[in-house]
């Protein structure tokens, strides 16, 4: 009977998946309901989880539930605690899901929803979830050690150092691009700036409350903080309407940049309980709540997708970011399909708390499927906007101008219907002066979310509230990431520099830590500033660099996985990681190559530098530069970006070299050569046996 139910169930899943895909495929000319995308995605996830992840767990890795995990071996009730798999799933998911899966798909929507959707589904099943799962498995079998340590022990000391060096640069680019998203969302928006600024005193209050007034009451203080946040959104409207207050909170992009840089420095040297921890409570819980709310909204409302399945911009001429579908789609959507950063999380706290090895499948593979689902939601939110509005919000001012009339005219020429009134009306609905060229993805997601959520609660009258709620929600966890990331980057840097200058390694030394913090902040601050003044919107430059660095790390993690499979003598199953690692490396290297050498100045950094250099020779000043010195600065930035892209290529190629060397060595030896911790019987199993 059970057998029959299970068979019927799978028949149902495959039938509904197939019909959802049929609806999507057959209605290419007209708009479809978002629910079909959701059904198709969920069916793919369920099937992949049931069959592919089970295959990896049982046939490839041969997960062993009798094996003792680090949680039991090093149990201390603190870092190492055997934890129920559902409880740990929540922890792991909250750690991997951030702004990435929300922004990438929105930028990718310029090619239509179909390319993004297909890559999100195929990428997560065969690459992203596989990477997370196998790295978690590898780390769990090796006392929960970190990615850098794992590479050092399995591939060698030098590749381990190279990988950590690469990871530090990802950190810088990531922080810069995240901060850029906040700047783009808050520039010239007093309402948004006020609410985000209000989170600082709210967090300080919460920090003192939970430390001195009511210690340990996280739930209680978060609830109070949440109420205060909602009040600050409401108050933001009054700030906007009051001319003097509005003037104080109306900041230009450059002012916000300096504010963020100062904030990043101060916040990361304050005691953690005061600002970082309480803000983390708010942002984590708000993130989970909002994701659930968005999912419910999309399913209940099933908004129509107005974006076509494919747009003409698959050829690479799009205004949001430049470059053709291959390879740039595959680096624009990183998180949600495959994200190298996850390998740091999967070799961080999670493997130290896993109860039995078999849980790695649910936590590693399952949580990544969940993140992909979040990315699908973001894609849906972007695709439900009127395409004309989407392009008005995401195209740089250099292309569509700064007025509603010029924007509508340019966008109409691309074949998307939009009027100046539609643009100003949308801005009015969400309580902004202007929505033109609000690049970076966050405002677009906020408008999409506001449309969906206001249909569930509040109608058009509540749209402005929901819009600022969405902006606040994104800004909140980005600021937490900037704070925590600067700290983590500082320690990474002290560790790296400490190998050469021993004095830098001392994390208790005030001078050493201030120097390291300063270098970190200056590093991401430089890229942030460069992005803010860029007339093409900055996202055009920084997001591809971020995508390339993130996929480079994914390549490194998958190279490690492949080496471990060969060292376990699982040669015939190694295709499980060889296929994704090949794809990731091909995309990343091609994209980096094109970013450096492409002849089109919108794509290639060197071509862009040459264009400016020729103008300098002729004495003509090109925007955004206002003088020849600034022209020189633009040229210098181009060279920095080109060097960074070449650095990422060099890191990946050298890791490929070390990886192939390790594989060849492992092939010659006819017994397993992995460096696993020795097998010990799990206490759970030992007691149930008795």
């Amino acid at each position: 009977m059970n057998y029959l139910i299970s068979k019927l169930g799978w028949l149902l899943v495959s039938l509904s998946g197939a019909s959802a895909f049929a609806v999507i495929a057959l209605n290419r000319g007209e708009s479809i309901g978002a629910i079909w995308i959701v059904i198709a995605a969920v069916c793919v996830y369920i099937t992949a989880y049931r069959f592919y992840s089970l295959f990896i767990a049982n046939s490839v890795l041969k997960l062993d539930s009798t094996r003792m995990t680090p949680a039991y071996k090093h149990n201390d009730g603190l870092d190492h605690v055997p934890t129920n798999k559902y409880v740990l799933f929540g922890h792991h998911f909250a750690a991997i899901a951030g702004a990435g899966p929300l922004v990438g798909p929105i930028l990718a929507a310029q090619m239509g929803y179909m390319p993004g959707m297909l890559w999100l589904l195929a990428g997560v099943v065969f690459a992203g979830a596989v990477q997370d799962f196998i790295v978690l498995f590898i780390s769990t079998r090796r006392d929960g050690r970190s990615l850098g340590d794992l590479i050092k022990s399995e591939l060698g000391q030098v590749p381990g150092m190279i990988a950590m060096f690469g990871a530090f640069f990802i950190m810088l680019i990531l922080l810069a691009v995240l901060a850029l998203i906040v700047v783009k969302a808050l520039a010239e928006s007093p309402w948004g700036t006020f609410t985000v600024a209000a989170t600082i005193p709210i967090a300080l209050f919460m920090g003192i409350y939970v430390r001195y007034l009511r210690p340990c009451a996280i739930g209680e203080v978060s609830l109070i903080g949440f109420v205060l946040l909602m009040l600050s959104i409401v108050a933001g409207q009054y700030v906007q309407e009051d001319p003097t207050l509005a003037a104080i909170f109306t900041l230009t992009g450059e002012q916000l940049t300096w504010a963020l840089i100062a904030y990043g420095f101060i916040a990361s040297v304050l005691p953690v309980w005061l600002l970082l921890a309480p803000r983390d409570y708010l942002s984590t819980f708000l993130k989970i709540g909002t994701i659930v709310g968005l999912a419910v909204g999309v399913i209940v409302i099933s908004p129509q997708l107005k974006m076509p399945a494919f747009t003409q911009f698959v050829d690479g001429s799009g205004p949001v970011w430049s470059g053709s579908l291959f390879p740039f789609l595959f680096i624009t959507i990183a998180c949600g399909a495959i994200s190298g950063f996850h390998s740091l999380i999967a070799s961080g706290t999670t493997p130290k708390m896993i109860q039995t090895e078999t849980d790695a499948r649910f936590i590693g593979y399952g949580a990544m499927l969940m993140e992909s689902f979040v990315a699908i939601m973001a894609l849906v939110a972007a695709a439900t906007l009127e395409p004309g509005i989407y392009f008005a919000m995401n195209s740089p001012a250099a292309i569509i101008g700064t007025t509603a009339e010029s924007a509508a005219q340019t966008i109409a020429q691309w074949g998307f219907y939009v009027t100046p009134e539609m643009i100003t009306q949308t801005a009015q609905n969400v309580g902004e002066h202007n929505i033109i060229s609000r690049t970076g993805g966050a405002p677009t997601l906020a408008v999409g979310m506001a449309q969906i959520l206001s249909e569930v609660v509040g109608g058009t009258a509540m749209m402005a509230f929901w819009y600022h709620f969405a902006i606040l929600f994104e800004a909140l966890f980005i600021l937490t990431a900037v704070d925590a990331g600067t700290r983590a980057g500082r320690f990474m840097l002290q560790d790296l520099l400490g190998s050469f200058i021993p004095a830098m390694k001392r994390t208790d030394s005030l001078v050493a830590s201030l120097i390291a913090t300063g270098i970190c902040v200056a590093g991401w601050g430089y890229f942030l500033y460069q992005g803010v003044v860029d007339p093409l919107g900055g996202i055009n430059t920084l997001w591809p660099l971020f995508g390339i660095s993130n996929q480079m790390l994914a390549g490194i993690a998958l190279i490690l996985c492949t080496c471990v499979l060969f060292k376990m003598k699982l040669d015939r199953f190694a295709w499980v990681t060889i296929i994704p690692v090949t794809w990731v490396c091909v995309c990343t290297l091609t994209a980096a190559w094109q970013k450096i050498f492409d002849a089109n100045p919108r794509i290639g950094f060197l071509a862009h530098a040459n264009k400016y250099r020729d103008s300098v020779a002729e004495g003509i000043v090109l925007a955004p530069a206002k003088s020849i010195e600034q022209m020189q600065q633009v040229i210098f930035n181009d060279y920095v970006n080109a060097s960074l892209a070449s650095l990422f290529m060099a890191v990946l190629i050298s890791m490929l070299f070390f990886g192939i060397k390790t594989v060849l060595q492992a092939r010659v030896i006819n017994h397993p050569t992995t460096k696993e911790a020795p097998f010990e019987l799990s206490p759970v199993y030992a007691t149930t046996e008795k």
């Binding site: 603190l78 605690v81 996280i218 953690v272 921890a277």
Partner: protein
């Protein structure tokens, strides 16, 4: 049924706390009693502070993703 609901709710709140880096205090106390009866046990407040410092305080641990 009621048991099942309370258990789910308890797990949910455990998971929420773990998301911000605070594992179960009772598990910690039980572990210390069983495994190290000779060692002092941190009070709930000390435990909370120790966990905060461990999550955010450093050693280059990356606790979140992009």
């Amino acid at each position: 049924m009621v048991n099942k609901i309370t258990q789910t709710l308890r797990q949910l709140s455990q998971s929420m706390r773990l998301m911000v880096g605070v594992p179960e205090y009772s598990t910690y106390v039980a572990h210390m009693r069983n495994a190290h009866p000779d060692r002092p046990v941190m009070s709930h407040e000390e435990f909370f502070r120790e966990r905060q410092e461990a999550r955010y305080g450093g050693n280059g641990k990356i606790s979140r993703c992009c």
